[in-house]
Amino acid sequence: MSAPRQIRLNVFRHNPQDPASTPHLQTYLVEEAPGMTLFLALSELRERQDPSLAFDFVCRAGICGSCGMVVNGRPRLACRTLTQELPAEITLLPLPAFALIADLSVDSGSWMRAMTERLQAWLHAADPAPDLSRLEARMDPDLADQIYELDRCIECGCCVAACGTVQMRHDFVGAVGLNKIARFGLDPRDTRSDAEFYDLVGGDEGVFGCMTLLACHDVCPKELPLQTQIAFLRRRMLRAGA
């Protein structure tokens, strides 16, 4: 068996709380182990080499969306990225577009909450407090599956970090926001009309700001059909706004 690979990890370092800190890349050497993910590599690095390194992992199973970062130029979930799929030199940067907390840790939570509030991205039910003793309302089984398909978004922020429009318009809601409108628009339990959705996403900060570069679609870790959803939503909003 061949000797394990030595990996060079170039990691973005900066602690905005520390006046002495300046943004820079720091290089660490890590010995690759079988099945090593970036979660395992960074955890080992922090345990053994540099206890000050800041990053965010929660589920470490690709479910929670905490660990989006730019890996060799591409936003992705670090926890489920195997080092063996990458070259021996790996550069890790925090997701752009979100406020930096430190090193690889960004504040995507505040961004997502603000987006949710702006788009009122929750189900607007006719009766939010139904009689819970009664049978539930029915739904077509295929429609339920279609809604879940869009409900699978984990708000990891990869689509926002990869978005060309976001670089120019900081108020752009991103594919994550447009997908939510598509999701609630598909749900017959939501009482909002297309005209009401138009008020939320009918401008340049919404669906008409999208330049259709569609990196969002390419980087989405959940492989959501963002390209199709944005196109459908745009057509629907054109009709609603006409």
């Binding site: 504040d107 929750w122 879940y148």
Partner: protein, 658 residues
């Protein structure tokens, strides 16, 4: 000194905490949620397979109701559960699942007509009724007599968390993210908030509240191999424990899930086996029917995990460079089923194992999964020893699960407890004891005490927090796992005590301002060790086997001596072990008196009062013409314990409301 005021402080932004917050907001109170991470990243999202609620919509769920769910849960708990709490839970679960449907959860639905499923390795055709078309579907899970587990593909927890998280936003509940409670604020026997550290800036802030709810989830990271998220470190249990007056119940009751992927410990759902997946050994032999002819792969988790460990011990594990493991085979379910109902499993296999589960077997090994024990509360969620403190969800021990939790009952518990406890928290705040008057000096002293503890960690100690943490996790995995015995547990307690002493001499190398991950590890490991000692000491003292607690030197369940709940407190901060006390369970008032579970060993030692109680229950059951609701009330009245809004019956297709 910065002080934030709110009516209800909820510590923990997972499903239980968020549902409590929504409930108290609806009652006109302010609620504020503290969360280590953005709330939608909570470990609730990792619940895959589903939520138990006895809706009885599917053919295989026909005849299901609260009574069956109740009995399954009590048997699953190995009679450790509090039976009135189980009753409250099973009556509220259908309401909870229907509320979530109204809040937008895209539950998988029943489709009328024929469909092929795999049951016990055989292809079977099921016919779903026209009447059920479009209602919530249920799948099979371990330890249940009916198909009862409602699901959203295998992303159930995610869909639930997003719906409830969105409702919290819609209700204007503020969530203070990246905030960690370090200590409860306490004025004599009244809890009035918490001292909180900002994980981004390092600043300490006092949160003063009329009621405080701990909903921080479990403590899986005390173990080296766990399915739990990295934030599940038992900090809520430690918060309560460090008051010196609040007890942790049954901490030795720790669940090991049969199918953590090997070696990473990432969960693949019980839905795999519920949908027809099989466990195989190195030779490809399906071994569970040899041990459990009745329930096979779908016995309760404690039993399946133990049988797996036993089978590996006999030398039937598949060898690998990381040690032996077994196989989970879902190939016979077919690609279409996996693509539709087991999508997360497919993704996990693809990304972490490079395996396509439609074609290849999944390497699995039992891994720590769930903390049945927790902060001991009344049925209302309130601590009996510290007024104004409540707890809900996995962090709590009200005690729904006893010594083993059924799959699908935890994510159900989060929302059910949220609904119930939220009402009691609101009642408390609006009742005679709901106001507080707290001196600022008390708040200042509490903040200063926490700052002093942090300063001590930065003050040049010699021990490494990371090293202590790894050693603790190894001790717990090696000695406080699936198989336990007195000698090994004694060694575990001694090792943990030594680590606790060492943890008081930790020196953190970096004192840069802002996030200081090493400092976080340091103060957490000091607290984790106390929780770990509650588990190990409780396990050492409990000389019987019950549910997930299995003592090789005491292999029988001993109702005569151990039908008791362990209560661990830590009154002396300088001590190295908790103080253990016991709270007896009352056989004479049980609706389901102790007996055989229907799976596992059939060799328990009977409680002296069991025969008399069993006879009176049998006599009541023999009364002809008694409606099941009336019989139930006769055996163990519980509805008066529920908030009035949750006391009603549940409608089913085959069972209209009275």
């Amino acid at each position: 000194m910065k002080i934030v005021y709110t009516d209800v402080l909820v510590v923990g932004g997972g499903l239980a905490g968020l549902r409590v917050a929504v409930g108290v907001r609806r009652r006109g109170l302010d609620a504020l949620v503290l969360s280590l991470v953005p709330p939608k990243r909570s470990h609730s999202a990792a619940a895959q397979g589903g939520m138990q609620a006895s809706l009885a919509n599917t053919t295989k769920g026909e005849g299901d109701n609260e009574d069956v769910h109740f009995e399954d849960t009590v048997r699953g708990s190995d009679w450790g559960a509090d039976q009135p709490v189980v009753r409250m839970f099973v009556n509220t679960a259908p309401k909870a699942v229907r509320e979530l449907a109204a809040w937008g959860v895209p539950w998988s639905r029943v489709r009328k007509g024929d469909r092929e499923v795999i049951i016990n390795g055989q292809r079977v055709t099921l016919t779903e009724s026209e009447a059920a078309h479009g209602l919530l579907a249920q799948r099979d899970f371990g330890g249940t007599r009916k198909w009862r587990t409602c699901y959203v593909s295998d992303g159930t927890g995610h869909a639930m968390l997003y719906a409830v998280g969105d409702q919290a936003i819609a209700h204007g509940v503020p969530v203070h993210e990246r905030k960690e409670a370090l200590a409860l604020l306490r004025d004599a026997d009244r809890c009035c908030g918490a001292v909180v550290r900002d994980l981004a800036t390092g600043e300490l802030v006092a949160y003063v509240s009329r009621a405080t709810v701990i909903a921080t989830g479990g403590a899986g990271r005390l173990y080296r191999v766990t399915t739990n998220a990295v934030i599940c470190e038992g900090m809520g249990a430690a918060l309560a424990l460090e008051t010196g007056v609040v007890a942790l119940g049954n901490m030795e009751a720790v669940q090991f899930h049969p199918t953590g992927i090997f070696p990473a410990g990432i969960l693949v759902t019980e839905g795999c086996r519920g949908d027809g997946g099989l466990l195989r050994d190195a030779a490809g032999h399906r071994f569970m029917p040899d041990y459990e002819p009745e329930k096979k792969e779908l016995a309760s988790r404690d039993v399946v995990s133990r049988r797996m460990a036993e089978h590996i011990r006999k030398g039937h594990g598949a060898p690998s460079r990381f040690g032996p493991h077994l196989w989970l085979d879902i190939t016979q379910l077919g690609r279409a089923h996996i693509d539709r109902n087991l999508r997360e499993v497919k993704e996990i296999c693809r990304y972490f194992l490079g395996v396509d589960p439609a074609e290849a077997w999944i390497p699995v090994h039992p891994a720590q999964h769930y903390t049945m024990g927790g902060i001991r509360t009344r049925h209302s969620g309130e601590s009996p020893t510290l007024r104004g403190l409540f707890s809900a969800g996995e962090a709590a021990c009200w005690d729904l699960h006893g010594f083993n939790r059924l799959g699908g009952n935890s994510v159900a518990e989060t929302v059910v407890a949220g609904m119930i406890v939220g009402e009691f928290v609101a009642d408390f705040c609006q009742g005679p004891g709901g106001e507080i008057s707290i001196p600022t000096a008390l708040v200042r002293d509490a903040v200063a005490a926490q700052q002093a503890a942090l300063d001590a960690l930065l003050g040049g100690g010699t021990e490494s927090a990371d090293a202590i943490r790894v050693e603790m996790q190894q001790v717990m995995t090696d000695r406080v796992g699936i198989f336990r015995d007195g000698a090994s547990l004694t060694l575990a307690v001694e090792a943990l005590e030594a680590l606790l002493l060492r943890s008081r001499r930790i020196g953190v190398r970096s004192n840069a301002p802002g996030p200081n991950p090493e400092l976080v590890t340091a103060y957490r490991v000091q607290r984790m060790l106390k929780v770990a000692l509650c588990i190990a000491c409780g396990a050492l003292a409990r000389e019987e086997s019950r549910g997930a607690h299995f003592r090789e030197d005491f292999p029988r369940r001993d109702d005569a001596h151990w039908l008791q709940r362990t209560l661990a407190t830590w009154p002396d901060p300088a001590a190295t072990r908790p103080t253990l006390a016991y709270e007896p369970l009352q056989v004479e008032s049980m609706e389901l008196p102790p007996g055989w579970r229907g799976y596992g060993e059939r060799n328990h030692i009977e409680h002296p009062q069991t025969p008399a109680r069993a006879a009176s229950v049998e006599a009541a059951r023999a009364i002809p013409g008694l409606h099941r609701y009336d019989l139930q009330r006769e055996l163990m009245a519980y509805r008066h314990l529920l908030p009035p809004s949750l006391q009603g019956d549940n409608e089913r297709l085959g069972e209209p409301l009275r």
